[in-house]
């Protein structure tokens, strides 16, 4: 846990130091109803948002259904005596495959990402790992 605390603090410092946000010009609070109403995006105006939402829903559902119980599966089905030590290695191996895929995603995002109205492909690609 201390390791994660250290990583969190180091990364926070890096982000705060090197990322400059534009001068704050937040929207004005106009009441509870407009506030919660702002969560609704019209599907006709933002169809790509809903495509990304759906793909994220299914990809995350698949990932976490498996991840949450992988430790018990390794222990009880595979018969691994010390699954807490093996699981990070297993997850790391799988994620290593995602790195070249992500690099491909970066390249495709460079190629297609700047086309107005055609930002769906890079979003799907970056979700693919």
């Amino acid at each position: 846990m201390l390791c994660f605390v250290g990583i969190n603090m180091a990364c926070l410092a890096l982000t705060l130091r090197n990322v400059a946000e534009p001068a704050a010009s937040g929207f004005r609070f106009e009441g509870i109803t407009p506030f919660f109403g702002s969560f609704y995006l019209k599907p006709r105006e933002y169809p790509n948002f809903y495509w990304v939402l759906v793909t994220r829903f299914f990809s995350n559902m698949g990932i976490w259904w498996i991840f949450s119980f992988l430790l018990f599966y390794l222990e009880e089905v595979v018969g691994e005596a010390n699954p807490a030590n093996l699981l990070p290695l297993l997850l790391g191996t799988g994620a290593a495959v995602a790195i070249p895929t992500s690099l491909l995603g970066v390249k495709l995002a460079e190629r297609f990402g700047s086309d107005a109205g055609d930002d769906l492909l890079p979003n799907i690609v970056v979700q693919s790992p």
Binding site: L12, L70, A84, G105
Partner: protein, 159 residues
């Protein structure tokens, strides 16, 4: 973004994503099931309890990001409207992580669930506004590549 190497800028922009992904892909699949087993022993209900604790946290994860994100949209702060949420969210996450360390054999599952919900709250308190940082800090034509770098850091964190 300030004038500096684009790679440094993209890495800095995605650094927190690296931290949060590294933490989360260890806490949920490894630490929570392992701690619950340590707390209640090898019982038949440990999978159900683990699933319930994680599901309780997921409810928070469903509600907080849009709420915190919308609040950050309306925030006026020196240095940027996302920054207060990143700072408080990461500090809260660190305290939440440390609180999980205190649980051991015989500890209350209810308290553990609350500690996990607390961790989820702070993580998502930062993550919602963090998702808005790219549109705020990156020019429109560079957003896709910035997102790609962010995902690359996430994949690296998981490995």
């Amino acid at each position: 973004m300030r004038e500096r190497s684009p790679i440094v800028s993209y890495l800095s922009l995605g650094a927190l994503w690296f931290a949060l992904q590294a933490q989360w892909t260890t806490v949920v699949p490894v630490i929570v099931p392992d701690q619950i087993t340590a707390m209640i022993g090898e019982t038949a209900s440990k999978e159900g309890i683990t699933g319930s604790v994680i599901a309780a946290g997921s409810v928070i994860a469903l509600l907080i990001p849009p709420f915190a994100g919308a609040l950050s949209d309306m925030t006026r702060a020196t240095g940027g409207r996302r920054r207060p949420y990143l700072v408080t969210g990461v500090l809260g996450t660190c305290l939440g992580l440390l609180s999980l360390v205190t649980f051991e054999l015989g500890s209350s599952i209810v308290l553990y669930a609350l500690a996990f919900i607390n961790l989820q709250f702070w993580w998502n308190w930062a993550a919602g506004p963090y998702a808005g940082l790219i549109p705020d800090a990156v020019a429109e034509q560079k957003r896709a590549i910035a997102t790609g770098w962010m995902n690359l850091l996430g994949a690296w964190a998981r490995s």
